[in-house]
């Protein structure tokens, strides 16, 4: 079987060989517990601190403000639950309708179990929140605003600087889930007024099972996980040393390659869109490509299902993701596409293509060729498409 052609970099990325090479010694010889006082333990501790510096450097912060976690979801839960635990009086959180479930479900948990009121700000058809809507939602009870930097499904970039300034003005904690932004666009916290930020290693060619939470100087929250006081007491549990080392190397690489990859991705996206529109009729981009990171393209193909298109592409060796799980209920439709005003039928006919550092021009050409073939074939089966033409 041929190696699949991968267009799902938003879901996860393949590990960079340099990352793997850097991690291996910490899975083999340097296996010590970083809390131990002998040399192999110290060596592991030292490696963690190097990684911390490289990750801090990637987002322009001090290394002492980075706390390693098991991933983006844990980082998001840590800050949301932490802020909530500290706030005995103010019980209002503002978020957006297109956040990742790691945020939305935690908000829902705080609503159900801790009496928080959650205001979910809608987005426009491009998938962008209006800062004025956030300002209007702020009350004397608002303790936290949490908005993602880049949406995972359609790639829309949020006005983070403006939201941050607004929160600063009202003295409200601003958390940003930047899992889909870091490594794709410049993220420099020297220029962005963010109080806390989440990142994940496996979205930037690092290993799965590791991420981090950045906390601005002076932000104090109780930890989510208690125990041995690792990570300055913020996250107990023996560190995932090899994972953290890999995360650090991955951060360094994406920082070095950021502008090259951004330019290349933009070129490949444009090539894809030009060929797509030339080759396939009746397809529509969800969201606004001008408001998006170039690596994410969400498209609907009328008259067919995204699920069957993705399945056919899979059989042809191409990996893409869908906006709706194959299900006989409507509850599994993408909440992001719903939020930008798409109908259930449009959501069901959509797929997401995400481009990454390893994507080549040849792969884009193969994708368009196979897409055309699959879309035409499925439309030839479909009574729905026959009727609409």
């Amino acid at each position: 079987m041929h190696t699949p052609i991968y267009f799902d970099y938003n879901a996860t990325t393949p590990i960079d060989p340099r990352v793997l090479e850097g991690m291996l010694p910490y899975l083999q010889n340097h296996f010590g517990n970083p809390s131990s006082t002998y040399s192999i333990g110290y060596r592991a501790k030292e490696a963690i601190e190097i990684a911390r510096k490289d990750i801090a450097n990637l987002i322009g912060v001090e290394d002492g403000n980075i706390f390693f976690t098991s991933g983006g979801s844990e980082a998001n839960s840590t800050i949301l639950k932490g802020i909530a635990a500290k706030s005995s009086k103010k019980k209002h959180i503002i978020t957006s309708s297109i956040e990742h479930p790691a945020i939305l479900k935690t908000c829902d948990y705080l609503r159900k179990h801790h009496g928080f009121q959650i205001t979910t700000i809608p987005v426009n058809s491009a998938g962008i929140v209006d800062v004025n809507d956030i300002e209007r939602a702020i009350t004397s009870q608002t303790v936290l605003v949490t908005v993602m930097m880049v949406n995972n499904e359609i790639g829309s970039i949020q006005p983070i600087k403006e939201i941050g300034n607004l929160c600063k003005k009202h003295n409200i904690h601003f958390h940003c889930d930047a899992v889909q932004a870091v490594g794709k666009i410049p993220v420099n916290l020297k220029e962005l007024p963010i109080d806390s930020l989440s990142m994940s290693a496996h979205k930037i060619y690092g290993p799965k099972g590791v991420g981090c939470l950045y906390l601005h100087e002076g932000v104090n929250i109780p930890p989510l996980i208690l125990g041995g006081s690792q990570e300055f007491g913020m996250r107990s549990g023996t560190e995932n040393v090899a994972g953290i080392v890999g995360f650090g190397i991955a951060a360094k690489i994406v920082q070095e390659d950021l502008y090259f990859n951004l330019t290349k991705t933009e070129y490949l996206r444009n090539l894809f869109l030009t060929n797509l529109h030339a080759e396939i009729e009746d397809c529509l981009i969800n969201g606004d490509i001008h408001a998006n990171v170039p690596s994410t393209i969400n498209i609907q193909f009328s008259g067919i299902r995204g699920e069957s298109l993705a399945s056919m592409l899979n059989e042809l060796g191409i990996c893409v993701s869908i906006a709706s799980a194959c299900s006989s209920t409507s509850s599994k439709l993408s909440h992001v596409l719903k939020a930008i005003g798409k109908t259930d039928e449009e959501i069901r006919s959509s797929i997401r293509i995400s481009i990454g550092a390893l994507t080549t021009e040849d792969e884009i050409n193969q994708l368009v060729r196979h897409l055309k073939q699959s879309v035409m074939r499925l439309r030839s089966f479909s009574p729905k498409y026959q009727m609409s033409i």
């Binding site: 299902r305 056919m312 899979n314 194959c326 209920t329």
Partner: protein, 134 residues
Amino acid sequence: MFNDIICDHFMNPRNIGELTDADYVIEISNPICGDTVHMYLKLNQEVISDVAYRAYGCSTSIATASIVSEKIVGMSKAEISSITRDDVVEWLGELEPSQLHCVDIALNILNQCANPTKKKFEQKEFLVEGEGAF
């Protein structure tokens, strides 16, 4: 993901198309997920002599229509009536939970094939998907 039977019928569906001289047409629509099958039947003395269909839906539902279309050719309406859920489960092979609704799609198709009434599509209307359907 998909068992070999579903995969084969999805990638190579049998009997896709329309019959211009169909004796009956049947129309299956799942109001919740929107899966739709339009099937054309040609009968020779109560026996299905030819079948064609078009399908809109998930890959498993397209494969399901193909499997059913292949099975029913040569069967009488009475024979189709005697097909059980267990038979259908066996035809479709092992399904994941999200694909199980296709057993009901198959049974719906079979039920209508056993008692076809419509001579032609009246409007070929699709049920509205989503909340409007409830």
